[in-house]
């Protein structure tokens, strides 16, 4: 091919354009001109079923409508935290009304919804006492027990500690994964938020993941890409987490955080719900280093609404 002046200039500018596009998105983010904002934070005055429903509706609206994530005929997996055999009052598990609201909206959008978790305690007890099995039945969506033969090995791209991980088949096959963690204190990970919640779709020995926990949490998030995170910050456990604590340790923060980037959601929750500097949390630091996001909460475009 003969290089003409015209060809040369076109190639030069287009390659410069491609190279700069990374910066452009960065600039877009910095000025908040992106189509969608990174974080949507919905606050409320009172904790009633009605207000929680409005929070979820408002949240989806600010995110750009539920159609952005859930379309007709999609397989949606909702992954709440129901890891412990305790009742919703103790704030160990995701608020069942919040799960109900999200499941209802997904079902209305025409998706087939399944709710699942791999609990620490006996699954049958956890599903029942968390109240989520009951709301799933009311809404008419499946609350599925995980089958221990259905975990499939997945390569972790650029894993910090692990090369492969066993991930649940339904999660791999899902069109949309909605991660619905509850924000609470955690003795090993400091806080358990969206990133830590993914341990519930991973197979294998939970105990061993707690050695080098922070690195493993980052690896979970590299192996499993979540489409939407709805963080339950309605009532949070600030001490003696994740599986005990008294009523005095529970703080009513009345917040729900929506986002697509787990690092963004976790950093925001750590800073504004618990008042902990995100960079002091091991797995958030490691995630920022591996390019999953940044611990600087100010860098994310945020919409805050009160309903």
């Amino acid at each position: 091919m003969k290089i003409s002046r015209r060809n040369f200039i076109v190639t030069l500018f287009s390659s410069v354009g491609v190279l700069c596009s990374n910066y452009l998105t960065g600039i877009k983010k910095a000025f908040g001109v992106g189509k969608y904002s990174d974080l949507v934070v919905i606050k409320t005055q009172e904790l009633t079923q009605k207000s929680i429903y409005t929070m979820v509706e408002q949240g989806f609206k600010e995110l750009g409508g539920i159609e952005r994530f859930v379309k007709k005929g999609m397989k949606v997996v909702i992954k709440p935290n129901m890891g412990f055999n305790s009742t919703p009052e103790r704030a160990h598990t995701t608020n069942p009304i919040l799960v109900k609201a999200v499941a209802t909206m997904c079902k209305k959008a025409g998706a087939s919804v399944a709710i699942m978790d791999r609990p620490v305690h006996n699954a049958r007890l956890c599903y029942r006492s968390s109240g989520i099995e009951e709301v799933a039945k009311k809404v008419g969506v499946d609350c599925v027990y995980m089958d221990r033969d259905k975990f499939k090995p997945v390569k972790v791209p650029g894993g910090l500690n692990l090369d492969t991980l066993d991930v649940y088949e339904d999660i791999l096959e899902a069109d949309c994964i909605i991660n619905m963690p509850i924000a609470k204190h955690h003795s090993a990970a400091d806080l358990t938020l969206a990133m830590k919640n993914l341990m519930g779709v991973i197979g294998g020995n939970r105990g061993y993941y707690h050695i080098n926990l922070h690195r493993n949490i980052v690896d979970f998030n590299k192996a499993v890409k979540v489409h939407l995170i709805i963080l339950d910050g309605l009532r949070i456990l600030t001490k003696h987490g994740p599986s005990s604590g008294s009523p005095a340790d529970i703080k009513e923060t009345k917040t729900v955080i929506f986002g697509t980037n787990p690092v963004a959601v976790d950093a925001y929750a750590a800073k504004h719900l618990f008042g902990i500097e995100p960079s002091s949390i091991g797995y958030l630091n490691l995630a920022a280093q591996s390019g999953l996001g940044t611990t600087n909460v100010g860098a994310y475009s945020t919409i805050i609404r009160t309903v």
């Binding site: 006996n122 699954a123 007890l125 089958d147 090993a188 105990g207 707690h210 005990s244 604590g245």
Partner: protein, 497 residues
């Protein structure tokens, strides 16, 4: 009643009641089922005789006493229709193919009355050992602890198609010492190789109780002397040996109303009707053949067993034997427990297992908590709900959450943070106690390579620990856990606090 179909109706009835028995085990094993409805142990000797005294409730005696009082009307139908062990023995005949007969002169069927008498005598010394030899508890233990784990292991997939949520039960599960449970069960079945229903005819104390009552029952086998040609078909076919050699007379207390003689008679000579006992007399008394020598042997051996309770059968003080929450004080617990194994079946975490000799011979088949296999769930009180004798008291959830069954101890030489300076906080994370019985101490130490590292060292607070054992269960150190639960140091009076 003359129809030959009654033999088949009986088989169907027995099968249905056996199915109820098996279904109750599978139902109760479901962690979200209602544990308050465990009813089969109410058929045991203990529940019929003294159960309502020790439990202060008639709840568990109603069914057993009801069936027992029906015996005065219908005779010893229990053994042929209701008893799950009897059903199993009948079914196992196809495998064992019993051939022999009792020799005419040896009256060994009297032994069951002596066994019953002996267990009553021993009970006066506070030794309620009836659980070892009660057919209900033998069957219960065998089905729950030996057969069901196998069935669940092989058939968990098909069972999950029938029973929603079956896959979420903790399977595969197994019970420690299951082999000893199996040995007792298989020996009982194997006895049939001498002759059919050996156990029921010779040894069963519950059968003996029903036998005594059925001596005066009204529903009896009647033979038409004009039609009977003494062919002996009924005598040969009788699984209980309840028919006199000439075919007319009946040993009423051995007849379990299986109606095989109706089926086997080709001359329509046999019928079953309600009649006065004086009219159709039983050819034998229940106590026939019991000599003064027998009674002396029973008295002597009972006294010996009762005396040995203080030595061989004494309550063990092994600190690794942890009893379920709500269990009575050890010696009282051993007296009250009938070893039905229901608490082990209903335990959602597979934490309770039968003892063999670890708790002394007297503690055989009593429940113990083995944390490494399963932990005591913080929000569960099922074992207390299901216990038919009150050996495990029913606790409210708030009492249970404070009830101390043991205390955790860290083995510092294999604990990861203590011995290898590796951070691992699993025991602290899983501890369910509100203000954490295990806390972490931050310390800067030198590791094996001589580098200064910061580790979190777990420390147990004995005053807060309730001994649920989840820390031992979840300890990631393989094999022996680095944290173990032992018997509590607190006195029992303090436990109820």
């Amino acid at each position: 009643m003359k129809s030959k179909h009654w033999s088949i109706y009986r088989s169907i009835g027995q099968l249905l009641l056996w199915f109820v028995f098996v279904a109750s085990i599978i139902y109760l094993h479901d962690p979200v089922s209602d544990a308050g409805i465990g009813f089969y142990p109410s058929l045991s000797i203990h529940s019929i005789t003294i159960g309502y005294i020790t439990t202060h409730t008639v709840k568990y005696a109603v069914l057993g006493l009801g069936l027992f009082s029906l015996t005065f009307l219908l005779g010893r139908f229990f053994c042929g229709w209701v008893c799950p062990l009897g059903a199993t023995i009948d079914a196992s005949d196809a495998l064992i193919q019993p051939k022999g007969k009792i020799k005419a002169k040896t009256n060994i069927t009297r032994i069951k009355f002596l066994v019953l008498l002996s267990s009553v005598l021993i009970a006066f010394f506070g030794f309620t050992g009836s659980g070892y030899i009660d057919p209900i508890t033998i069957a219960y233990r065998a089905y729950e602890l030996f057969l069901y784990p196998f069935v669940s292991f092989i058939g968990s997939k098909p069972l999950s198609w029938i029973l929603p949520g079956y896959e979420a039960r903790d399977y595969p599960f197994y019970y420690y010492n299951w082999a000893w449970v199996a040995v007792v069960f298989l020996v009982v079945l194997g006895l049939s190789s001498f002759f059919r229903r050996f156990w029921c005819r010779v040894l069963c104390p519950l059968g003996a109780m029903y036998a005594v009552a059925s001596h005066v029952s009204l529903f009896r086998r009647v033979v038409d002397r004009d039609k009977c040609i003494h062919c002996g078909a009924c005598v040969k076919g009788c699984r209980m040996g309840a028919i006199a050699p000439e075919g007319v007379g009946t040993i009423e207390h051995e007849c379990i109303k299986c109606f095989d003689c109706l089926k086997n008679c080709n001359y329509d000579a046999v019928s079953f009707t309600f009649t006065r006992p004086s009219k159709v007399k039983s050819i034998e008394h229940p106590g026939k053949g019991i000599t003064r020598r027998d009674l002396l042997i029973v008295a002597g051996s009972s006294a010996m067993v009762a005396a040995s309770k203080v030595s061989l059968f004494a309550a063990s003080h092994d600190s690794s034997i942890i009893r379920p929450p709500g269990a009575l004080r050890e010696s009282q617990f051993l007296d009250a427990c009938i070893r039905c194994g229901q608490c082990m079946n209903v335990c959602p975490t597979n934490a309770l297992h039968p003892c063999f000799a670890e708790a002394g011979f007297y503690g055989m088949f009593t429940p113990r908590l083995i944390p490494r296999i399963g932990y005591c769930d913080f929000t569960c009180t099922r074992c207390g709900q299901v216990c038919p004798t009150g050996a495990i008291q029913e606790l409210s959830l708030s009492t249970k959450q404070k009830f101390v069954i043991g205390t955790a101890y860290i083995l510092h030489d294999i604990c990861l943070p203590w011995s290898e300076q590796i951070n691992c906080i699993v025991c602290e994370e899983v501890c369910p106690v509100a203000n954490k019985a295990i806390t972490l101490e931050k310390k800067v130490v030198k590791n094996t390579k001589g580098i200064q590292v910061e580790v979190l060292l777990p420390v147990v607070h004995e005053d807060r620990c309730i001994g649920c054992g989840i820390c031992e269960n979840r300890c990631p150190v393989s094999g022996q856990a680095a944290i173990v639960v032992r018997k509590p140091k607190l006195k029992l009076e303090e436990r109820y606090g």
